[in-house]
Amino acid sequence: MSASYWLFFVFAGLAVLGAINLIWQRHPIHSALSLILVMGALAVLYLLLGAEFIAAVQVIVYAGAIMVLFVFVIMLLNVGEEERTQWSRVATYVGLPVALLLVVQTGYLLYRAVPVVARVDPNRFVGTTRRVGEMLFTDFLLPFEVASILILVALMGAIVLAKREP
């Protein structure tokens, strides 16, 4: 068992635990914190996969910005523990088993999909910020610009929806 295995299993385990906790907790704030944990763990895994830039963005944007936004909203609305309604039998008796089946099946298929010989060597293929940046501004220039529109829309939407009536 090499270090990479250890690292992988530890952080994969953290991610899974965080995810489970996310869906286990009744209070949104706990869930939010769990999600941050998952994101952090994933950042490490990205590094293991040689995705430096993404790992950084993951921490900065995702965990840093987006999740803060979540926490902020939770605080703002002073959300308490969730109400325990059980009105959707479909979700419970169909949805959950099906979702679990989906987990199992997807996991199994993905496990079988890629030959085990394909293993990760963090040094073989590295997504450095430079390379990513170059690509972003050449091949992916158009999507990049388009993304700006997306942000614009989102901003505008947030304002339109959330601002108080004058």
């Binding site: 614009l152 829309v153 989102a154 505008m156 939407g157």
Partner: protein
Amino acid sequence: MSFSLSSLLFVLPEIVLSLFGVAVMVAEPFVRPGRKQQLGVLALAGTVASLAAIVFQFELVRRGAPVAAFGGTVLMDSFSLFLHFLVTLVTVLAILASFRYLDREQIHRGEYYALLLFGTVGMGLMVGSGELVLIFLGLEISSISTYILAGFRRTALRSNEAALKYFLLGSFATAFFLFGIALLFGATGTTILTEIRSALAGAQANAALTWMGIAFLFVGLAFKVATAPFQVWTPDVYEGAPAPVTAFLSVGPKAAAMAAFLRIFLTALAPAAGKWFWLIWVSAVLTMFMGNLAALVQTNIKRMLAYSSIAHAGYILIAFAAGTEYGVAAVLFYLVVYALMKLGAFTVVAHVSGPGEERLNIRDYAGLAAREPLVAGCFAVFLFSLIGVPLTGGFLGKFYIFQAAIAEGSPWLLWLVVLGAINTAISIYYYLRVVIAMYFREPSAEIEVAPVPSSVAFVLTLTALGTIYLGLASPVLIRAAAAAQALR
């Protein structure tokens, strides 16, 4: 891959729309409340300019300009242009249909128009892109715009709820869509459609990943197109959203998603057609039946029309299942027809519903023919077209769809057509219920008649005439047929 200015011509309509969108946003604070319609006019100008840009692109293509740019991610083929034109036209009509409505509901704000414009940008990208990530971005832009638009009547609980449901389920489906992209990327190592196609054809791709990818892509796209079993969100959202938004929502994004659906499945996934044919087949049947049967028992007209939208998605899938060029042409033509009649119908609903959208029950339409002959007449045209009575576009569209399916020659498609025909028969009942209310019944109570705003009258006349025109003889049909060739 180098960037050249000329490649900007490929996204000219999007650029135009974005610029106007930004302009509307910027101008917003400077326009006094009560005169916000000026912003609408500005947005209208933007869409018209965009239409001009599309025509210009047509001209370019006709003169032999290349059809792909940005490394094959943006396409300017006839398919793309056809649908560009359609979605932009839809926006034009949606803007026109919204003028008075927004005043009436006191939610007249520039952002509304900006969001419509940006949404159109997103749809343009969806229909004009040959690459999954760009398609995804387009999808997101249009989705997010419409999430917001759905909730635009901020004080109305139903509007809130529509936005919320749409948003949550939309994002949920988006995640599936993304996962599908990821899996296809994993299977083929690319997200450019033509490359995926060759990878799949060459059989280097991993089968399990491919199938899972297709399945998840299907989920995402089917959700947007609202076909069974992913149509569940539609009635709630259509019902809750402001009526002109519903008009837009039921037509624009649906058409764009359908275009993306077609392009992805017929271009990239064509080698696997033998398998996904069944998905489409089953989905078509389920969609038609669920839409039509549920519509039978509706009393809320918006909701009824929502179910009818689902049913129509099912009809479209029939031609999709044929998978031929012919079928694609049928889909395209039907999308045009569908856009006109559905837009018209929801515009009528927006107009008749009155302040606060109070009058949405079919009973409220009693005696409409006597009160507002024009509105009732146009609505009748739309309804008959939705049924598929000859001499309306709805008939020709359905006819073309059925023919495309039969022309493919498979007995399964013949059965599908038979089921489609049965569904048509089912659908007569609920459409005609409205006609009955309008023409055969007397109003239960006195309702003051609001004069039909000229913009609404314009939209209605245009869509009604268009619906009839499409049913008579149709150059649009030829255009559609030509556009369909682009997918091969």
